[in-house]
Each structure stands twice: as structure tokens, then as C-alpha cells.
Symmetry: none
Subunit: 409 residues, 2 copies
């Protein structure tokens, strides 16, 4: 079924509030397999509301509106709907009684509040246990129109308790998704790798989402039962795993550093990090994760040559003969860090994040990343591109991916 | 001028992401006096995008679109606009060159990326310094159409640097703003402190913007000339400075750590940081700033007790008698760090970021922050609240503010 959403409220149009209702309702509808084609926000203006509603009735099966159900003069959603569908507004005894119950002291009820006891003829009340404005459900000419109040604390319980069960009862099929979190492949390269599947998609559908440092791939099948969906999803699962291999690091939307931190904690592995060009990004991402204190020994941000010598014992000769950005320095950082910490995993970065500091032999973006685990060390050389921030971020992602591959071997 | 916004992205319609772009752009337009009448969100679907754009061209003067400018097959905004306005897509050498610069290693450029170098004939490029998709500005038949990429970290700088000045230039009166960057006061407290000004506002208007860790206050006057505006702004300037005092650290939208890093570099002061609970956040924020390598000696993330002893010489007795989160430990970290680095400024943090690890005597959120500068040391005790992330962030901000106040004394 084609659905659309109309949010009514000038406060959204002037940027005073974030439209969280749109995200909430959209996600709920997607989960039960409704196609949402449009979101529209209009202010508390009868003509523009009317034209938005008219347009939605011409193109969608289910129209959900939020906002404009309050007691004031500019709350006009119900009246506009009634006018457009050519039904009259009628007094509803139940709404009236509920309203009175809400105002225990009835002297607080204003004339405006009584407006809330009128509903379009033929509509059903959606109870609101957290406010005075009841919701409205109106089915007419094969269209379903649902009116809900704007405040999320009123709208969400009404949606969960009344609207969602109603909509589920109208569905024949449901949507089921597989997720793949992919490291070290950019979004456009990933699309290239799956272009035949993406171009030919209908059911299941494939979508990629660029996240900070990696990409989420979602494959969604539409079917009557989970078993039917599974057949569709499994077929794609084989192809995707074959093409992306061990670049897939999770089957949910989780960040790479969270996966690594949780693996270290679970396997009781200790880690220390010495960072030059990444400047503490690696260690600060690990410390975002609760419980990491049992695994994280030290992070040394040895930005200066003095720090590399003082804390990691990198020799002054190495620094002057090979430079701080060199395989030799990276190796000495690695050995020095291990000597000081005896951590199960030690990992180091040294490079030129830019924008200045580069040369012909050592351009901006040159980064050495080394890891030592179970007496085996590897130092990788990378030439990265982009802004200072991007180079630091890319080097951090490479380091995390190196940790992941090393401890999974 | 009547404006409207079209956000293009299936990820918004299926509720995967919150439409923060709509709030940001709406607030900006409201500030410069543009009327925003509609928000529309459509998916990556050419027909529905076309009908939404067609409708907006029939009723608004300024149409801003976000999203759908990426390199992939379903990024169709530019092409749809060109088709609708009956102009052809032409190759743009500048966009092509910028794209190549972004991908230093051109073997990473996919065929998809080259699509981004084509623009509708007659349009102007809006530079994007944070991604590969340039924005597009097209003025035709008294309409202004502006296309921006979807990711906020790309869109917002483009809006601030190029779009906003352009829109302001279309207005008869102009808007002039004073900015105040305020540390250590939350957004709602700040609003309370200025409530009389905010409630009575018409010209100038006052708006607060919560940033990461601090708040931007903007006072905007609407006038024909700068001189006229200055009279209005000066009156507020006196009141604001009186109330906020030295919590104001800048008169532009710059982050506190950038101000500090630039001060350190300019005054040739060296700094070393030892972080326990902030886990590398302080040092990684400093290393975001180009040129910091001349000032930053070391950052030690001494998450474990062993690290505190090994790298900073904190005594095992102190750790076992007073605990790692104590004034005594903070003081020994400070002295040990100075001993090792001889930096002009040494600063340390130790605390409990949570969610676990707290006790009745030492609850989650207890943080000690110490600084040593010119033989004077201070260790502050703070009780912070919120999630792990918020506690780490607040402690980081307090540390930066402490550095600022110390070196400015």
C-alpha cells in the first residue's frame, strides 16, 4: 500500500523543532511493509493544508497526518479534512466525556476545548491517554486517513496501541531484511561491485548507506512469511558473501571499533596503541565503548620526536636518518610499545596528515601502520588522500581493520 | 520571498535517518526573513522527484533541494532538474578537476564518480570542501533553485559559505550579525539568562545554537546599512557581555579547542596531556588542528593503573590507598607528566565515565582535572552527569576551558 505523511505545524517550518514524528512513523510503516512515498510539512494555514491533503488523497492509499488537532484557532486539520471529503463535523459524546475527565476541574475547560469534541461524521476515535486531543480514523472511498496529535508523547502511544495493529491487519505481505556492515570498501566502489544486482533489483531490493568510515548494505525481501523471504534473501546472501568476503565484519549496523572493543573484552586480550598522525583517534574511539578498561592498557600520542624517544625508546639515530615517518620508526615504536606494556596487541601509526609537512619523497597522506601480535609484526605502508581530517580518519579505519584481521586469523 | 525545501532520500522515507537538514535550513531561512511554506521529502525516484520539483516551481520563488547528488545510479536530482527546466547536462572542467584532486590516487575514481562532473547548463557550482558532490545554483525565470548534498557535514559549510550570502544579497534590507561563542554554559541556561531579550525580540533577533560542547549565540539586526544595524547590535552587545562575562571565548563560530590550539602555536607554548576518563578526546581534538605538531609534545592515555605507573610514575601506594580517581592520583599524574615532558602546560584527567564502575563514595561522573603551568598547579573536582559519551565530552570541555583561563591569566 502507498502511504504518505503530512506533518502540520509552523514550528517545524521555521526550524524551531526537529520533525522526529516523520522518522518514527516512517520506520514503523517500513517495518510492516508499507511504501512511504512522500513526507510533506505545512504550516497552520488552511489553504496550504487543504492543497497538501487534496494532493495526497489523489495519489496515496493511506494518509497519516500529525499536528493541528489542538484546541486553538489555528488547529484546523479535522475541519479541513471534513470539508475536503464533504462530510460534516458532528458532536461526539464520548470525546466530550473523555475531555471532561481530563479536566478534573471543569472550570479549566475553555470554549476552545469543546471544539475537540467534534469529529468528521463517520470517523472513529483513536483514544489519547496523554492529552486532550483524540486521534481520528476515517475510511472513505478506499482511502484511509489517520489524524494524530503532534506531541510525540501523545502520538507514539496512540500509534503503537491503535494505528499499528489496524495497519498490520490491512497487509498481505511483510518486509524482512539482511544487513551487512562492510569495511575498507567505499560506497561507490561497493555499488560497482554489486551493480548487476542493484540494476536488476525488484524483490529483494538492495541499498547502500555511507556511514562514518564504512558502509551499511541492506537487502530487503517482501513476502508473506519469513520462510518465503528467507529463500529470496539466502540467494543474495551467497553472492554478497562471495564478492565481499571478509570485508563484511558484521550483520547489523554496528561500528567497526565497537566490534573490535567487544571482541577484545570477550577474549580478554589487552591492547596498547601508539599514535602519531592519527593523534589519539584510535584510542579515543576504543574508550567510547563501556568495559574497555579491562583490555586497554595504554595509548601514547607521540606527536613529537621527543615523545617517541622518551616513551617508546625510538632511537634518535633512527629519527634523524630515516625520519619520523618511516618503516624503521614504525617498527621501533612497535617494539618499544610492546617493551613498555607487554600488551597482547600493540598497534602504531606514523604519517603525514597535512596539509603541510609533505615532500616529494614523503607526500602528505603517507602513513605507516604497524601491528604486533603473538610475536608476529607487520608494518603496512599506505598512501592516503583527502583533507587532514579524512587522512586521519582513513588511517584510523585501516588500523581497526588491521586489528580485526589480525586477531581473527 | 516564498521558499520551500525538498529533501531527496529514500533513507528518510523509510525512517533510517532523522531529517536534521530540514530543521537547519528552515532556521537559517527564518533568520534572514524568508517564508518557508513547505517541506517535502521524496525518495530516489525520478518520477516522484520530478512531480515534487514541478509543483514547487509553480508556487515558490526559492527552492532548496538536498540529497541525490552522489555518484550512484539512484542519485538523480541534477538530471531531473535539467530535464524539467529543459536545459542539457554539460561537462564542467572545474568540477572534474576538483574531483580528481579529491581522489589523489585516480585509480580509485569509478565511472560513477565522473557523473558528478556534469552540471545543468547555465548553473553555478557551489564548492564542497568536504566531499565529492558539488552543489548547484540555477537561476531561471525568476526562480532560484539550489541543490545541495545530503550529508550535513558537507551541506552545512556550503550553506554557510555560499548559499546564505547569496540569499541575503537578494533581500532589500540586509542582515548583520554578532556572534558570541560561549563556553561552560548550557543552551537552556543561556536562554534563561537572556530570556527577557529573547521574549521581547523583533529587531535584532537572538538565537542560540547548541554546538558540540558549547553554544553559539547569534544576534541579528535587519537594516539597510551596516551603520544602522550597528546601533541595534551595540545595545545588545553591552548587555550580553555584562551577563556572560569571560564565558564568551570568541566572536565567531570557532570551537574552543581550535582557539586554544591556535593560541598555543602563536605563543610557542608546548603542551602534554595525560588522560584517563577522557580516553584521548582532548589530545585527538588538538591534533585536528594543522600546525599543532610544534606545540604538542605528548598525549598519554593511561587507562590502566599500570600505564599510570609506567609512563607517569604514579606510585602504586597512591593507587591502592587513594584509588585511581582521586586528587592525589591526579596530582601525581600531573607531576609525573611534567617530569617526563617538561612541557609549558601539562593537563590531566581521571574519573569514572560509566556506565559501571561507580560507588557511593565515587559515583559515575566524578572527574578530577588538573593543570600545571608556570609552577602553579590546580586540581579541580567535578561531579558530571549523563551518559558515558556526555561525561567524556563534558570533562573534555572543562579541561579546554581550564587551559584557556589558565593561559589567559
Amino acid at each position: 500500500m502507498i502511504s504518505e505523511l503530512i506533518n502540520v505545524g509552523t514550528e517545524i517550518l521555521i526550524g524551531d523543532i526537529l520533525n522526529t514524528n516523520a522518522k518514527y512513523i516512517s520506520k514503523e510503516l517500513a517495518t510492516i511493509g508499507f511504501n512511504m512515498y512522500y513526507h510533506t510539512t505545512v504550516g497552520d494555514n488552511p489553504n496550504r493544508l487543504k492543497s497538501a491533503l487534496e494532493l495526497s488523497l489523489s495519489r496515496s492509499d493511506v494518509i497519516i497526518l500529525t499536528g493541528g488537532l489542538g484546541p486553538t484557532q489555528d488547529d484546523l486539520t479535522k475541519e479541513t479534512l471534513a470539508q475536503l471529503l464533504n462530510v460534516e463535523m458532528v458532536f461526539d459524546q464520548e470525546s466530550h466525556d473523555t475531555l471532561l475527565k481530563f479536566f478534573v476541574n471543569s472550570s479549566n475547560v475553555t470554549q476552545n476545548n469543546y471544539k475537540q469534541a467534534y469529529i468528521p461524521r463517520g470517523s472513529t476515535i483513536i483514544p489519547n491517554n496523554n492529552g486532550t486531543a483524540p486521534g481520528i480514523l476515517l475510511e472513505k472511498d478506499d482511502k484511509i486517513v489517520i489524524l494524530l496529535p503532534g506531541p510525540p508523547r501523545e502520538m507514539i502511544p496512540m500509534f503503537e496501541e491503535t494505528v499499528l495493529p489496524l495497519l498490520v491487519s490491512k497487509c498481505e505481505t511483510k518486509f524482512f531484511s539482511n544487513y551487512y556492515k562492510v569495511a575498507s570498501i567505499g560506497e561507490s566502489t561497493l555499488e560497482d561491485m554489486l551493480l548487476d544486482l542493484i540494476n536488476g533489483q525488484s524483490n529483494p531490493t538492495i541499498a547502500t548507506y555511507a556511514k562514518v568510515g564504512d558502509v551499511l548494505l541492506r537487502v530487503t525481501a517482501n513476502a508473506k512469511t519469513y520462510e518465503e523471504a528467507k529463500i529470496l534473501l539466502d540467494k543474495y546472501d551467497v553472492i554478497i558473501k562471495e564478492r565481499l568476503g571478509d570485508n563484511i565484519y558484521a550483520n547489523e549496523d554496528i561500528s567497526l571499533h565497537e566490534v573490535i572493543a567487544n571482541t577484545l573484552i570477550k577474549r580478554e586480550l589487552t591492547i596498547s596503541i601508539a599514535e602519531s598522525c592519527t593523534g589519539g583517534l584510535i584510542v579515543s574511539k576504543l574508550t567510547e565503548i563501556p568495559g574497555i578498561s579491562s583490555s586497554l592498557h595504554s595509548g601514547i600520542v607521540c606527536y613529537s620526536n621527543q615523545a617517541k624517544t622518551k616513551f617508546l625508546g625510538v632511537s634518535e639515530d633512527t629519527l634523524s636518518n630515516y625520519g619520523s615517518v618511516s618503516e624503521k620508526t614504525a617498527t621501533e615504536m612497535l617494539l618499544g610499545l610492546y617493551e613498555q606494556t607487554k600488551s597482547d596487541i600493540t598497534i602504531v601509526t606514523t604519517g603525514i596528515a597535512g596539509p603541510s609537512g609533505g615532500s616529494i619523497e614523503k607526500p602528505v597522506g603517507l602513513v605507516y601502520i604497524g601491528i604486533l601480535y603473538k610475536n608476529q609484526s607487520v608494518v603496512e605502508k599506505h598512501q592516503l588522500s583527502g583533507s587532514r581530517e579524512r587522512i586521519q580518519l582513513k588511517a584510523t579505519n585501516i588500523a581497526f581493520n588491521l586489528i580485526r584481521k589480525t586477531i581473527n586469523e
